[in-house]
Assembly symmetry: C2
Homo-oligomer: 395 residues x 2
C-alpha cells in the first residue's frame, strides 16, 4: 500500500508553487514579459564565469574516472580542505577539514543538522517570518517546530517571546540571516543577545542547544555591508550553506555544513553526518560539482541587480504608503498588506498581473513577499502597475 | 546534544570500507600495483565518450541560467520524458513521463521507494546474499528488514523459505538482479514464480505487496545475454536505477525510479515521492547531470573487461577446487571459502596481499566476495598469488 502519510501531503500544496504555476499559465496567455511575477526565489543572474571555466578545465585536464568516481561519504577531501581554509580566512574561525561536510544543498544540510542535534520529541525553535519548507523538513525527523512570533518593526528577534518559549526540551534554534522572506540581516547585537541567552540556558538545562544557521543568502548583502557570521558569536553553531543563491547554482544541489571547531563533538560531527546520510539516501553532491567548487575558489555572481531592484521597489512602496522594512540583503522584500488578509490583497493584485506571495505561509499573516530576482526593466515596468493597483483598490 | 542513535553507528563501521582503507595504506607501503585489491565495487572503465561530449555541448550551447537553474522537484521534464521513451522501447512497458522520478542515485531511489510503500512496523523481505547498505537504508524508515537465507547452489531464490516468511505485515520485497555480491541474474523462471506467489498473497491479504527492484547492474550481463526486467513480470514493481555502474558515473549521483504504469497509484507515485523528498533533504540530482542523461541517450561504458576478468578468476577458482557459481553479470564473484569462517580465510589471504570481503556482511557467512572491477593485468598477476595462497594454507 502507498504510505498514506505522504499521500496526504499532496493536499497541502505549496502556495508559492501554485502561484508560480499560475504565472507560467498566465504568461502563455498574455506573454510572460507582461506577468509581473514576484513569486519565486530563483536567481536571475548567471553563475560566475570562473565557475564555468573551472568545469571546462576539469573536463580538459582530468581523467573521466577521476572526475566521476565515488567521492568519500563526507565529501571530496580537497573541497573540504579548501572550504576549511576559505571559511577560516573569511571569518577568523580555525576550521579544519574535519569540520566540513559536503551536502547536496540547503535542504540536505538542514536534513543532516536536524537529525544530528535532535531526537524525536525534541523542540526546535524558529523565528517568524521563516522559509515554509522548514515545516516538512523538520516534521520527518520527529522533532517539534515551535515558532517565535515576528517582530514586525524590524524583523530582528522578539526576545521576550523567545525566552518564554525556551524549555529543557529545546535542543536547537534555527535562524536564517539574511532572511527569506524579510530581506533583513540579523545584527551583531541580535546575535550577541541570542548567544548570551543560549549560553545561560545551556548551563541551566545542563545540555547543548545548537544554533542551526541556514545561510544560503550569506553573501547577498546590500549597501557594501557584510552579514555577521553567527558561528562567531556562539560555539555550538552549525553553519549550513548552499551555492544556490550567491553563485546562482540552484539546480546543481551543492552546499556544505561547517561545524564550529568549539562545538560539541566537533571532531566527529561530520563523521556522524556520514552515518545520517545512509538512512536518508544522501550520498554526496555531484563529484564534478565538488571539484568545481574548490577549483573556482571564492567567487560570486554579480548580484548587484538585486540591490538595484530592492531600492526601486522599496522607494515605490514607501511612496504608496506601505509599512515596509528596507531589505538589507537577499532578493526579497516583505511589506505589510493594505488590508488585514494578505491573501485577499494578493488575490486583488493578480487582476493586475502582479503576483506576490501572502505572508501566512511564512508564519506572518497580513504581510506579503515579493521576490525581485527578475530583470530591472520588468521591475520598472511593474511600478506604475503597482501604483495603479493601490490607487484603484485602496484609495 | 548529539543524537546518540547516529553516534552509536560509528562503532558499526563498514567491513568493506575498512578493508578498502587497509588496501590504500598497504599500497603506500608496497606500491598499490602490488596490492590485489578485490574489495570495492568502483567501476574501472571510463564513462562513454558520448556522455562527455554531451556535457561539453551543454556548456557550448546552453545559457548558464538554463543549465544551472532549479529543476522541478520530480526531475527535469525532458529527462523524464526521454526515460519513459527509452524504457518503453527497451522493455515493452508503456511508461509515460509521469511514471519517472529522477533521483540522486541508487541510495536515493531506495530511500524514496521504502518510504513510499511501507510505513513503520511493516516488513520488507530481502534475499541473501544482499548489499549490506540495505540494512541502514531500511532501518531509518522504521520498516523491518527480514532476510530469506541464500540458495547457495545457484543464488536464485529459496522459495520454500520465502513463502514461510510471507505474512500480512509484508508490504515490499527487495530484489537486486544482477546481484551484488553473487554476480547472478534472476532467471525468467525465478521472476515468474516470485510474481505468481506475490499475486496470490496480495489477494489473500487484501493489500499490495510491492517489488522494489534495485537495478544498478542491469546492463552488465555476460555472454551476450540481457537481464530479465522484473517489472515485466509483476505490475506492482518499482524499478530503481543508478548510472553509477553501467555508465561509470558513481560520483555524479544520478539515477531514477520507474513506476510500472499498472502499479497502484502509478499516476501519482512520482508526485508522492516529491513529497517524501522534502523530509529527507533530497532535491533532485544535479541539473547538468539530468540534461546530460537525455542528451546522451542510451549509451553504456565498455564493460567487456568485467567479463574477461570474471572468466579468468572463475577458471582459476574452479581449478583450485573452489565451490563457486559462475557470474552472469556485475563485477563480482562470490565463492565459498576454504574454511568455515570466511573472516579467517580472508585474513589469511591478506598476508598474500589478496584483499577480499568475507560474506558475513552480505548475509551469507562462509563465502567471500571479489570485486574484479580492476585492470585485467592485475587480475592476471593475482592468479598465481591466489594459487600460492591456497596451496600454502589449505593443501
Amino acid at each position: 500500500m502507498i504510505n498514506e502519510q505522504y499521500k496526504a501531503m499532496l493536499n497541502g500544496k505549496s502556495v508559492i508553487r501554485e502561484l508560480a504555476e499560475y504565472a507560467t499559465a498566465r504568461g502563455k496567455e498574455i506573454g510572460y514579459e507582461n506577468v509581473f511575477d514576484y513569486t519565486l526565489g530563483n536567481p536571475s543572474v548567471p553563475c560566475p564565469e570562473e565557475y564555468t571555466k573551472a568545469v571546462l578545465d576539469i573536463y580538459k585536464e582530468m581523467d573521466p574516472m577521476a572526475i566521476h568516481g565515488y567521492s568519500p561519504s563526507l565529501g571530496n577531501p580537497q573541497a573540504r580542505e579548501y572550504l576549511a581554509k576559505e571559511l577560516s580566512e573569511r571569518f577568523g574561525i580555525p576550521y579544519e577539514t574535519k569540520h566540513i561536510f559536503m551536502t547536496s544543498g540547503a535542504a540536505s544540510s538542514l536534513a543532516h543538522a536536524f537529525r544530528l542535534v535532535t531526537k524525536p520529541g525534541d523542540e526546535i525553535i524558529g523565528f517568524a517570518p521563516f522559509f515554509p519548507e522548514y515545516r516538512p523538513y523538520i516534521k520527518d525527523t520527529g522533532a517539534i517546530f515551535k515558532i517565535v512570533p515576528p517582530d514586525t518593526s524590524d524583523f530582528q528577534i522578539q526576545f521576550e517571546e523567545f525566552e518564554k518559549m525556551l524549555n529543557p526540551n529545546v535542543s536547537a534554534v534555527l535562524i536564517n540571516s539574511p532572511n527569506n522572506p524579510s530581506g533583513v540581516i540579523y545584527s551583531e547585537k541580535t546575535l550577541e543577545r541570542l548567544a548570551s541567552i543560549l549560553e545561560a540556558k545551556q548551563k541551566e538545562y545542563g545540555h547543548d542547544i545548537f544554533i542551526i544557521s541556514d545561510e544560503p543568502y550569506r553573501e547577498i548583502a546590500f549597501d557594501g555591508k557584510t552579514t555577521p557570521y553567527p558561528s562567531k558569536f556562539y560555539d555550538n553553531t552549525i553553519s549550513c550553506y548552499s551555492y544556490s543563491k550567491g553563485m546562482s547554482l540552484p539546480g546543481e544541489r551543492i552546499g556544505y555544513m561547517a561545524f564550529n571547531p568549539k562545538c560539541t563533538d566537533a571532531d566527529i560531527d561530520a563523521v556522524i553526518c556520514g552515518q545520517i546520510s545512509r538512512g536518508i539516501g544522501h550520498n554526496c553532491p555531484s563529484a564534478t560539482q565538488q571539484i568545481a567548487i574548490y577549483k573556482t575558489g571564492f567567487k560570486l555572481s554579480d548580484t548587484s541587480v538585486y540591490e538595484t531592484n530592492a531600492n526601486l521597489i522599496y522607494d515605490q512602496l514607501v511612496e504608496l504608503g506601505f509599512e515596509v522594512v528596507k531589505p538589507q540583503g537577499t532578493f526579497y522584500i516583505f511589506p505589510k498588506a493594505l488590508e488585514e488578509d494578505a491573501n485577499v490583497f494578493c488575490k486583488k493584485a493578480m487582476k493586475y498581473d502582479l503576483l506576490m506571495v501572502p505572508g501566512d505561509t511564512f508564519g506572518c499573516p497580513g504581510y506579503f513577499r515579493m521576490a525581485y530576482c527578475i530583470d530591472t526593466d520588468k521591475v520598472k515596468r511593474s511600478l506604475p502597475v503597482l501604483k495603479k493597483f493601490v490607487e484603484e483598490e485602496y484609495k
